[in-house]
């Protein structure tokens, strides 16, 4: 018994020693895989960009942002056009443009990106997308080797700019769109799993534009600012986009984190509803424009993460910044204008009245953009100084109120120049009957100028027209422009090649690197 026990012990000991030694074997030189965990507030159902199918709503933003797809042309830091999947373009006549494509691009499944593939993709885009057909006005597309020729129904001077919109992301239509809204693009990453809250990516080993450094990326939708902040602090994520402004200061002075910021054309604006009797009063609109403290809003409430807006476009555009003039913050002048127009505080409660009607503005806005309720509250205080009462309705059910018309002002956020061209904002916000013209604004001069803009190909003259239109809108006080957003990415030290871009399109690129 004793002998058998000894043999058994020896056998077990030998097995254990062998098992230990097997752990010391050199498994070769497999490098450690790099994984990047990214938390963002900008992906999700509420943003209308779930999935990676660029031909559906705003999902193309996710296709480009997370490095799955690319467009024919892209914007540089100055929002000027640069070739990306294309090499150049040629305007044959006012209705026809030829785009030459790169010869060395393959989709992530190995298929070559040819003129025919691009044609298939764009044809599907104009067949199924909601905005693209009216933007692009494509009549026909001809493919010839590595070039395509696009003919338009009407003159579209901004056609190439529109192709930079994320909906213009080139995907392999042969591979199609999977049930979970995944696509095959030409970008440095391939999505392996796509859900409404998370996208998992692996590097595209066949990427045409250089080496992809990070092996795995997990994009997580974190829609609560505090959760996002704490996820970054705890190390659950390596970088974050969309942190609340008040949280940014936690990372600003911390040597363990880096912040990349840029000014964008995301605009916070108030549309004045011309169907409201009160708003139809010129004096009321002028007083409202004079009573908005844009400087206080951007410097204190946005903590410097925004710049006061004059017109719809920020200063980095030739037709933006101080190319136009707007009313400056002047409460005394606002009071005088209202006084002269017969708006007088007869009952001494601080709010003016005229013909028995109280000067009360119904301010409709929503809460999913954290800046908008702040703007509403800021305006509430400054307008009160001028004798205007503001009733704020900050609700995410705002569409019902827009439909019923129960508002005098609708404050919203909008990317004014996503295509680097001024036409987009005017055709969506200013033209009579346009999709986002929530103030039901109409001015015949503006209509004529926008028509001119639609037909003008010369960039300088387009800028001139844009300034003229924006000035007319400002003179009519159809919109009050509050600020432009400064966008920031916060990342822990060790993350490189991850920078904020003014277009708000490009986030994850092949240049992304991480030390783990």
């Amino acid at each position: 018994m004793n002998k058998r026990y000894r043999i058994f012990s020896l056998f077990i000991t030998s097995i254990l020693i062998l098992a230990m030694l097997s752990g010391c074997v050199n498994t070769g030189s497999t490098p450690q895989e790099k994984t990047f965990n990214y938390g963002t507030m900008a992906y999700g159902v509420a943003m209308g960009n779930v999935g990676l199918n660029p031909h559906e709503g705003y999902s193309g933003w996710s296709t480009i942002r997370y490095g799955v797809g690319e467009t024919l042309f892209k914007f540089n830091e100055s929002m000027e056009l640069e070739p990306w999947l294309a090499t150049d373009y040629e305007q044959i006549d006012e209705y026809t443009v030829r785009i030459n494509l790169r010869d060395d691009v393959t989709f992530s499944n190995g298929n070559k990106m040819t003129g025919e593939a691009v044609k298939d993709c764009l044809e599907n885009l104009i067949a199924v997308h909601d905005r693209a057909p009216s933007d692009l006005q494509i009549k026909s597309i001809e493919a010839d080797g590595q070039s395509i020729t696009i003919t338009s129904n009407i003159k579209v001077p901004g056609l190439v700019n529109y192709l930079c919109d994320p909906y213009g992301t080139i995907i392999d239509m042969e591979a199609g769109v999977t049930e979970d809204k995944n696509v095959v693009g030409t970008g440095p990453y391939i999505a392996t799993r796509v859900t409404d809250t998370e996208i998992n990516l692996i590097s595209n080993d066949n990427y045409w534009n250089g080496e992809v450094i990070v092996n795995n990326i997990n994009v997580k939708s974190i829609t609560d600012g505090d959760t996002l902040t704490m996820a970054l602090q705890s190390g659950d994520i390596d970088a974050a986009q969309g942190l609340p402004y008040v949280s940014l200061q936690l990372f600003q002075d911390d040597p363990d984190y880096t912040i990349s910021s840029t000014n964008t054309s995301r605009l916070y604006q108030a549309a004045l509803n011309f169907r409201s009797k009160l708003i139809q009063d010129d004096a009321v609109r002028e007083a409202m424009a004079l009573s908005m403290d844009k400087e206080g809003f951007t410097s204190v409430l946005l903590q410097g993460n925004g710049s006061p807006a004059i017109g719809p476009y920020p200063a980095n555009f030739t037709f933006g910044g101080d190319a136009v003039r707007a009313d400056e913050y002047d409460i005394d002048k606002a009071r005088d204008i209202l006084e002269d127009a017969g708006w007088i505080d007869s009952d001494g409660d601080g709010i003016r009245e005229k013909d028995g009607k109280r000067l009360t503005i119904r301010w409709l806005t929503y809460t999913s953009r954290q800046e908008l309720p702040l703007l509403a509250e800021s305006v509430q205080a400054t307008y009160k100084e001028a004798g205007i009462e503001v009733l704020v309705n900050a609700t995410d059910n705002f569409r019902d109120f827009l439909q019923s018309g129960e508002y005098d002002v609708y404050a919203s956020a909008f990317v004014a120049a996503p295509t680097g061209d001024p036409q987009y904002y005017f055709t969506t916000h200013v033209v009579d009957g346009s999709d986002y013209n929530r103030g039901y604004y109409r001015n015949d001069n503006v209509e004529k100028l926008v028509e001119k803009l639609r037909e003008e190909f010369d960039t300088e003259r387009r800028s001139g027209l844009a300034v003229e239109i924006a000035q007319q809108v400002l003179d009519d006080r159809a919109y009050i422009y509050a600020s432009h957003l400064k966008m920031s990415f916060v990342m822990r030290n060790g993350v490189a090649g991850f920078t904020a871009h003014p277009s708000d399109y490009y986030e994850i690129t092949s240049k992304l690197d991480i030390d783990k």
């Binding site: 609340p244 949280s247 204190v300 509403a376 509250e377 009160k384 704020v392 900050a394 059910n397």
Partner: protein, 289 residues
């Protein structure tokens, strides 16, 4: 043996008297504290050191100091003043809500219990429908449909809360209805309204009041919860729930913006809950046994 029993009974009686005295002392003390709270809340506009609505961006997010006892919020408004005035929105609205659901629920319950039959079944099935939904989820849905605003939040919470009182009152009425004095009242020719007002209500009101007082704390929390979600008070109305929500993102950088209204809710809810418990101890005969 008899002596021992007598001693036990007398010591029990002594203990009960002592317990009752303590309960009454607690009740008076809590009533006094609640009274002070309500008085301060009611007269808060006269007591505040600063205008709770006045923005002063140059003093935004100042920490607690002699000038601003509880600091300032991101608009530079004095937190102490906003907390005091915010009590009006939070507490008085909650009391209004409790008043509404108690009276409506009790009226419905008494009518059902007294009348019985198909009317009773019909109304109780409606209350079943309301009770079948998870309370807060239903309130959020109603408040979202109606849009923001403290009165819309009150309507939303009233919709979900009345069935509880209706069921309670109905049950109480059914038990009182079998009492001989009701039959005696009927025989003496009293009409239904007189029976309800003079004989039924006084007998069920104690239980209803105790339940209502216990519910005040819950209602304050629910109302603050709806405001926290942006479905209650609209800016610039100071309300403790919405103040907490507004300061939520500043918990790490300016904690006073969350802690001050949070503490106000904590103290108020605790006070009303203790008052409710003590009222039950004093009024409910079962707890005296």
């Amino acid at each position: 043996m008899k002596d021992t029993n007598a001693m036990e009974v007398s010591s029990k009686g002594f203990l009960n008297i002592k317990k009752e005295k303590t309960a009454y002392f607690k009740l008076y003390l809590l009533c006094a504290l609640t009274g002070i709270l309500l008085l301060v809340t009611f007269f808060s506009p006269k007591l505040v050191p600063f205008d709770p609505y006045e923005q002063n961006l140059s003093e935004a997010l100042q920490g607690p100091s002699n000038a601003h006892l509880l600091g300032t919020d991101r608009f530079g408004r004095d937190m102490f003043s906003r907390i005091l005035v915010g009590g009006q929105t939070t507490i008085l609205t909650s009391l209004l809500l409790v008043g509404i659901i108690t009276s409506v629920g009790t009226a419905v319950g008494v009518a059902c219990g007294y009348k019985g039959g198909k009317f009773d079944s019909f109304v109780m099935r409606i209350s079943d429908i309301f009770l079948a939904f998870p309370g807060m989820v239903f309130a959020i849905a109603v408040a979202s449909l109606l849009g923001g605003g403290i009165m819309n939040a009150v309507i939303a919470l009233a919709c979900i809360s009345w069935p509880k009182y209706a069921r309670l009152a109905r049950g109480q009425v059914l038990s009182v209805m079998n009492m001989p004095f009701i039959s005696a009242a009927r025989l003496s020719g009293s009409n239904s309204m007189k029976i309800i007002i003079k004989h039924i209500l006084p007998n069920i009101l104690g239980t209803i009041l105790v339940t209502a007082s216990l519910d005040i704390g819950t209602i304050i929390m629910e109302l603050a919860g709806l405001s926290f979600l942006g479905l209650g008070a609209m800016p610039p109305t100071p309300e403790w729930g919405s103040m907490m929500s507004n300061g939520r993102s500043m918990l790490q950088t300016s904690p006073w913006t969350v802690l001050a209204p949070g503490f106000a809710i904590f103290v108020t809810v605790m006070l009303f809950n203790l008052l409710g418990d003590t009222l039950r101890d004093v009024l409910d005969p079962k707890t005296k046994m």
